[in-house]
């Protein structure tokens, strides 16, 4: 089994080949494209799991992680080495992401039906097939995305890590804006790209500092994270400008790299892109915004943890900052989540909140729990996203059904009705989500919005597979005892408690309660009670290619936590040798029942509270009870603390203002006039030179020619063939000669 470890570099290859094959050859055929994409993902999966399991089964694998260079790209005096590595951390990532990618690919092949916002008349062929017009392109994008994710996981240097990181950023942009006919999707894709760009630029700066100040002259993890190099960075001090504080280099580098995580994992100041990114197709949300890409941000922290640990030792503020951002985000996002109506937005804020958990865990030094929660969260959050996608799909179908068959409570228009039964699905789809918008005390409601939970209710009986798997995922998310989320969340809480980080512990406990509450609310509003709309009444169960991935992920969401129970902590044992190998200190706490009890209490309490409020769903037209209890606070939550509006008023407005000023500066006032002036001057000088050339230079040349011509004209007259002229010339010449000879005589005579 050990031989598989050296094949790790092959993991990103099949999906990349699938991407190339779809783009180059298969883009005309949607079915073949889907098969190629799924095939690539399955191949990648079939490579990843043996690698992961050979790592899991090896004795003290962490002591001897596999690392090798494949080839180098010469860059001036140094080399950029491209290689791969397998260690316990990325073995777990390989295990998680390859499996989820396959599930999501299969799910996507069923999910990408003809979207409602498009007119079937524009795309008649795709509408007849019932598939998205850009189905193949979608498959190509997600294949490229998978390449980025797998490459990031197996890369052995921070630079290749960053390259794959950016490939994922690109794919994220392309996929969020996949339905670019929707204005909101366009805006969301740009927002996601720009927001993560802020973090990535900081990260790149951190990378450069790390490169400059490392002893090794490269960015290989094995070199930059070695104890000597970290010690070197910790002793090298720098005075940070503006704030004028002298700190070891390792601290600003850690902070800068952490900003990469803040952008990618949607932590507090830069979290705004993730909820909007739900404009993309739901498999994208599941893949990018739950399972893989946002986890990559946390994975970066896990990878760079020795650096952060060193920074925390010499400058404790660094880790406190990380912990603060994580804990604050966890609490902050979970409060927003309890007041959202969009089923995917709830999950998006939930994701932000859970990522905050992991970041907080890193911040308090809980290395293994962060990784553990990363893995379990990816499973149950992917399950929830895929489930929500299935729900949305079902409700959309219900909407089509209602459009096709008319509203039951409306009187049918007589005998004509039978003739209109034969509405084609394409015509019905043409209506899109343009339903009536009503203003309610708890936010505006679009009556035909298939994502608004107020339009759902009672779907458990309509969609049993989706419903039950969603409920299991929800329980795991809220940390119901014995599910995966319970164990991993408990680990984090236990570490926060044991490490004495009371504030972090408190924030995480509150957000755990809120998590359980909004999960119960979501389940209650969506699946329990009675259907509140016609479309919910007619929502069908999704196709098997969508439900089977749900069913296959469910066991992991339920049982994966048992690898990290406090009594038989396999993952701790698996990671321990690696921590020793890298010679850094991770927080290690004794098991305590207090945090576990607290965890159980808040989880179950939150669930019970949520069930108490929302267990029977809401009556048709009933306002959210929380709205009445919390009053204006609810509006604060519902409007996401007006952060978006704040950014719009400050950062975006400033950017617009700045671009306007720069436009004036560049195009109207300064730069262009200068450039134009230089151009005009050039033209003027050229004219002057042309005149000079024409008059002086050409004049000289023409003068020479003219003189030759005239001289020839004059002299040729002497050669006129007239004998007597020759004779006369002779005489004149003689005369002149004699005059000269006679000159002395004349002078004498005079």
């Amino acid at each position: 089994m050990q031989g598989f470890l050296n094949l790790a570099w092959l993991v990103p290859v099949p999906t990349f080949l699938a991407f190339a094959a779809i783009v180059l050859f298969a883009n005309r055929n949607k079915t073949v494209s889907a098969l190629i994409a799924i095939g690539g993902a399955v191949l990648s999966f079939l490579l990843s799991w043996p690698i992961a399991f050979s790592a899991f089964t090896a004795d003290h694998f962490g002591q001897h992680p596999v690392e090798a260079q494949l080839f180098s790209i010469p860059t001036g005096t140094s080399d950029l080495w491209i290689g791969y590595q397998v260690d316990p951390a990325n073995a777990l990532m390989l295990f998680m992401s390859s499996f989820l990618l396959v599930m999501i690919f299969i799910y996507a092949s069923g999910y990408m039906t003809f979207p409602a916002h498009l007119s079937p008349a524009t795309y008649p062929i795709a509408a007849a097939q019932g598939k998205d017009p850009r189905y193949s392109r979608f498959m190509a994008y997600i294949s490229l995305f998978a390449t980025g994710m797998m490459g990031l996981v197996v890369s052995n240097s921070l630079l290749t890590f960053f390259i794959f990181w950016e490939i994922m950023g690109l794919c994220s942009y392309l996929l969020i804006g996949f339905w670019y006919e929707k204005k909101s999707a366009q805006a969301a894709s740009i927002k996601a790209f720009m927001t993560t760009r802020v973090g990535d630029v900081f990260m790149l700066v951190g990378l450069m500092f790390l490169y400059i100040h490392s002893q090794s002259g490269n960015l290989l993890f094995s070199d930059i994270l070695s104890a000597e190099n970290l010690h070197h960075l910790a002793t090298l001090s720098v005075t940070v400008p503006l704030i004028n504080v002298t700190v070891p280099w390792v601290a600003p580098i850690a902070i800068l790299i952490f900003f990469g995580t803040v952008g990618k994992s949607a932590q507090f100041p830069l979290h705004v892109w993730l909820p909007d990114a739900m404009e993309g197709p739901t498999p994208v949300s599941a893949m990018i915004h739950a399972a893989t890409m946002v986890s990559a941000g946390v994975f970066l922290l896990v990878r760079m943890f020795p650096l952060f640990a060193t920074a925390g030792e010499v400058a404790p503020g660094t880790m406190h900052f990380v912990a603060f951002i994580g804990a604050f985000t966890a609490l902050f996002a979970s409060t927003i989540a309890i007041a959202q109506w969009d089923i995917k937005r709830v999950l998006a804020y939930s994701t932000i909140s859970q990522l905050g958990y992991m970041v907080a865990a890193i911040g308090i030094g809980a290395y293994v729990p962060a990784l553990f929660h990363l893995i379990t969260h990816a499973f149950f959050k992917a399950l929830l996203f895929l489930g929500s996608g299935s729900v949305i799909h079902g409700v959309e179908h219900g909407l089509h059904h209602v459009h096709e068959h008319g509203h039951h409570d409306e009187p049918a228009p007589g005998g004509e009705h039978g003739g209109k039964e034969g509405h084609t699905p394409t015509e019905a789809a043409g209506h899109g989500h343009t339903g009536l918008v009503i203003h309610r005390k708890d936010g505006d409601l679009n009556l035909e919005d298939p994502q608004d939970m107020r339009n759902m209710g009672g779907l458990l009986s309509r969609m049993p597979r989706t419903g039950w798997t969603f409920i299991i995922g929800g329980l795991a998310l809220s940390g119901f005892p014995l599910t995966a989320g319970f164990w991993s969340k408990d680990e984090i809480l236990g570490n926060a408690w044991g490490g004495g980080n009371t504030l972090v512990f408190g924030a995480l406990v509150i957000s755990a309660f809120l998590t359980a509450f909004y999960t119960a609310r979501q389940i209650g509003l969506t699946f329990l009670g009675k259907p509140r709309t016609e479309m919910a009444k007619h929502a069908p169960e999704s196709v098997p290619s969508m439900t089977w991935p749900l069913i296959l992920i469910t066991p992991f969401a339920l049982l994966l936590g048992f690898i990290g129970t406090p009594w038989g902590n396999w993952i701790e044992g698996f990671m321990e040798p690696y921590i020793e190998h890298l010679e850094f200190h991770a927080l290690h706490v004794e098991f305590s029942f207090i945090p576990m009890l607290v965890s159980i209490v808040v989880a179950v309490g939150g669930l019970v509270a949520g069930y108490y409020v929302y267990g029977q769903g809401l009556a048709e037209g009933q306002v959210d009870p929380l709205r009445n209890w919390l009053g204006p606070l609810w509006l604060v939550f519902h409007n996401k603390y007006w952060i978006d509006e704040f950014y719009k008023g400050t950062v975006v407005a400033f950017s617009h203002w700045l671009s306007k000023v720069l436009y004036w500066f560049d195009d109207l006032w300064v730069i262009d006039p200068i450039v134009d002036g230089i151009g005009q001057l050039g033209v003027w000088l050229a004219r002057l030179a042309a005149e000079f050339d024409r008059l002086v230079v050409d004049g000289l040349v023409n003068l020479a020619g003219w003189l030759s011509n005239r001289a020839g004209g004059i002299l040729r007259n002497t050669q006129d063939g007239q004998v007597q002229v020759y004779l006369l010339l002779l005489v004149v010449s003689m005369t002149v000669w004699l005059l000269l000879k006679a000159l002395p005589i004349f002078l004498k005579l005079v």
Binding site: Q724, V725, L728, V731, M734, L738, L739, A742, I745, L749
Partner: protein, 137 residues
Amino acid sequence: MDIIQQLFPLPPIPTLQQAVFIPLALFTAVCALLVVLSPNLFHNALALVGTLFGVAGIYALLEAEFLAISQILVYVWSISTLITFAIMLSRGMMFGATSKTNKQAGTAIDGIVVIGFIGWCNFVSARSKLDVSIAVA
């Protein structure tokens, strides 16, 4: 006036030789002028014969009798005959309205006058030496 005296030094009373020479030279000169100035080609030829005779006389006056005879034989007989024949053979073409002289007449006269003047000056400057030698003789 001194300059004119110097340029045209004439003895007051001609000797016998001089008395012969002066008419002969005048005849010769007039005939020479006729040769070039008379519009009729035949008159030119006749004037040429006259000139040649005059020159023969000058030879005789200079005590070169053989040359005088040769002059008459060669020039007056043969060359004159040749010229006369040539005139007669090309005749008919020469009686047109066109001028007997070409366009460069003025220039030519200027040049000739200047040359003659210079020759005269040369002669005057050389005269004293010659007179000395003649006096010696």
